[in-house]
Amino acid sequence: MNRKIHLLPAVLLLGSVGLLAGCQGPGEVTSHSHEVVISDQSRITTLGFDANDYRSIAQKIYNSLATSANIEPGKVVAMGPAVVGADQNIQFDPVTMHEEIATLAQRGGIFSVSEAIRGTKNVSTEEEADQFVEKFRQQVQQLAAAQSQIDNPEDYARYGQLAKINYLLVFELSTQSQVQGKLTEVTYRFNCRLVGTQTGLRKWVDQITYTKSYER
């Protein structure tokens, strides 16, 4: 009988150890099925246009705009068109890039960002890209023209009192990949320009090149 009673502490001991191992403080993070780490920066860098690249490129474009575009105060810029002529295998979201540049510009106060119109397109030829840019510029002009002919509530709601768009921020992305032995290299080239909506003149231009390499 005494020997059987000796089982009790052993069970209690094992149970308490198990209990201690199982319980955690209320502030700790437990994953559902695996350990999840949270941060504000991506830790994985790939040859593709990855999560780190958007801000980095946007910052470069913004710096160039802020230092050399000489935009008069109070000017309004529409984001677009973004033309992606890149390799279709590379994931690139032009809307994200728009947002990154626009947010930096808005917060830096170098221009106001219009939400009235925006445009992105994947193109395969330079001619197609040029046509898209010009078509977009014309759309902005049509928007301005429509504002002077408002005669019903729908038109008022659509066009009434919209800020006049002074410039378009155009960027085109092209990529080039090269492989030499174990080394693979991808070059991203952003051609950026600020185009006057009325004159069609390029107020500011810049080219930002970004190369990523990987050795197997």
Partner: protein, 602 residues
């Protein structure tokens, strides 16, 4: 026999007993401490634990993320200088664009949580009513807000009095809070870590000017070891539809299945699912009569993230597809409209056929024909046969034939024949039609003239020989009667007609003349009209310009500039000498028909 306790026979019995007592005491203390250290509720499976915050963290967007991101966005807005602008106005809630993010996200909940956090700061005020969380885009939401604003200032412009009542005294909304959630999933080169970057891009827009007042991007990167489990989707609930896209359920690759075949099967399954869902809207109305959407009408695409994930070696096991909502909804709307119109047309035709008076019945059937005609013009047969459009066209062809206009039925049947769902029926109908004599000019004249009052007016007798005029007029009148224009109310002799003032704005009749539906005016203005006595039946010769004018209900409808327009292939000088009066009248009428506006309802 198994011995659990240590046994030391050499030790005195008293020491053994003390050892065990101390041991029990330690165990009890330890157990007590463990119980105190453990969280209040036990780990029993069926016991509910209540907390303020969630503890489970996943690679997807979990409840902790909502709190963290809301806090980060709100904190930024509340310390930025732009806040000074926003405190002067009212904010509305705009949409969240999460179309490119495959993960479930409760947009409505997030926006409201953020608005609550911002309003509780005491610096911002949100409208409860003028929000547009389900708009396709922020600019679409702004348009809606501005529309309300317009109605508040001009209630008379509201198409619906209810809308005016809604707009009423509502506070004006000057700013719109809207955002976009996107994500990017990456796998390390070694394939041992998976990482998802969520990008919350939030903005406040000045509704009137359409420009951003404030913007901020908050990134949240979540990573986890990559294993067989994480390669599979790590979320339980699938993302819902957005205002812009319908999303399919997640498609999986079965174990051992060929990749290419699996992708094809996934695409087909996703399309079938989306079709089923969209077609349910039709089935709810009438499952047997409205044709469902065909696969070719509902193209599906991979969500952008999966387009690239699918290329990685370790992530080819699942796919998420979507289809744009707007075209799908348009197709459904068209189907329902076709069905409604089909029913209405059928009712109208049945009702018309019940009218006892022949002329009234014919007029009513003509009205149905116009209805069918305009309906068919709105919904041409496209690449996929739509049953009701075809049925309506059949209906129209039948009606034309039964009313004595087989020439009008012919092109309709030819159109159907190109892409009919019932080719045998079409061929039978075409064969029946081939046995009938078809004269398009005759039919067109009859269709235009029958049941109308009509006047023939000579404005001027060219050479003053009025005795020639009645004969010409009689022949024209006889010809018109052939085409059903039985009610010729005015036939003015030239002497009276010339008193009328004729211009392009209308015809002023004399006091005793009523204006007929149609005025057909023959005018040999300033010309010489001669009879040729050598030819039997009378031949009139004209020198100078012939003119004609058609007026309908006193309004100018058509006129020629010169007489040779009537006969473009024949110069005036060649035919004026040898065309009999009857022929002239017929040619005038043909010209009349060519210039008729057939879209006009009878």
């Amino acid at each position: 026999m198994t011995c659990f306790a240590p046994r030391r026979p050499s030790a005195p019995p008293g020491r053994t007993s003390r050892f065990w007592h101390r041991f029990y005491a330690y165990c009890l203390l330890l157990a007590g401490a463990a119980l105190l250290a453990a969280p209040a509720p036990s780990r029993a499976e069926n016991e509910v634990v209540i907390r303020d915050t969630a503890r489970i963290q996943t690679l997807g967007i979990d409840s902790k993320d909502y709190e963290n991101i809301v806090e980060q966005i709100a904190s930024d807005l509340l310390i930025r200088p732009e806040l000074n602008v926003l405190t002067n106005g009212v904010l509305g809630l705009g949409p969240i664009d999460n179309n490119d993010c495959p993960f479930p996200f409760q947009a409505y909940d997030f926006q409201n949580t953020l608005a609550t956090r911002l309003q509780r700061s005491g610096k911002l005020v949100f409208s409860e009513v003028i929000n547009n969380l389900n708009a396709e885009s922020a600019s679409a939401a702004a348009i809606q807000v501005k529309y309300f604003d317009f109605l508040r200032h001009d209630p008379s412009a509201a198409p619906d009095p209810e809308l005016t009542a809604v707009a009423g005294d509502l506070a004006s909304v000057q700013f719109l809070l809207f955002g976009r959630l996107s994500s990017q999933t990456q796998v390390s080169d070694r394939g041992d870590t998976i990482e998802v970057t969520y990008r919350y891009s939030w903005k406040v827009m000045d509704v009137k000017r359409g420009v951003w007042i404030w913007s901020e991007i908050v990134k949240l990167v979540k990573s986890a070891p990559c294993n067989a489990q994480t390669r599979l989707p790590w979320w339980d609930a699938l993302r819902g539809d957005s205002p812009v896209y319908y999303f399919s359920p997640l498609q999986y690759r079965k174990a051992g299945e060929d990749l290419k075949l699996a992708e094809q099967a996934a695409t087909a399954n996703a399309q079938a699912d989306l079709l089923k869902r969209v077609n349910q809207k039709l089935a709810a109305t009438d499952p047997n009569l409205i044709p469902p959407l065909y696969p070719a009408e509902l193209p599906v695409e991979l969500t952008p993230e999966f387009r690239f994930l699918a290329r990685g070696e370790s992530h080819t096991n699942f796919w998420l597809f979507r289809t744009p909502r707007q075209p799908a909804e348009k197709l459904v709307h068209d189907r329902l409209e076709i069905w409604t119109n089909y029913q209405a047309c059928e009712l109208h035709i049945n009702a018309a056929n019940q009218i006892p008076a022949a002329s009234a019945r014919r007029t009513a059937l003509k009205q149905c024909l116009h209805e069918l005609d305009s309906f068919a013009a709105r919904y041409p047969l496209n690449s996929q046969p739509i049953f009701h459009t075809e049925a309506l066209l059949f209906q129209e062809a039948d009606l034309w034939t039964s009313m004595g206009f087989p020439g009008r039925a012919q092109p309709i049947l030819e159109t159907i024949a190109k892409q009919s769902a019932f080719p045998d029926w079409v061929n039978q109908a075409r064969n029946r039609l081939a046995t009938l004599a078809i004269d398009p000019t005759n039919e067109a004249l009859r269709f235009a003239l029958e049941d109308h009052s009509l006047a023939i007016v000579a404005v001027h007798a060219a050479d003053g020989r009025t005795n020639l005029w009645p004969e010409l007029q009689a022949k024209v009148q006889a010809q018109l009667k052939i085409y059903g224009a039985s009610n010729i109310v005015v036939a003015l002799p030239p002497a009276q007609a010339v008193k009328m003032t004729l211009d392009q704005s209308g015809l002023e009749p004399g006091a005793d003349h009523k204006i007929p539906d149609w005025l057909f005016i023959l005018c040999a203005d300033g010309a010489t009209v001669k009879a040729d006595p050598d030819v039997d039946g009378g031949i009139y010769s004209f020198q100078g310009e012939l003119r004609w004018v058609i007026l309908k209900k006193g309004k100018f409808l058509a006129a020629d500039a010169k007489a040779d327009l009537l006969f473009p292939q024949t110069p005036l000088q060649q035919w004026i000498w040898d065309v009999p009066a009857k022929e002239i009248a017929k040619r005038y009428l043909e010209c009349f028909v060519r210039n008729l506006d057939f879209d006009e309802k009878p």
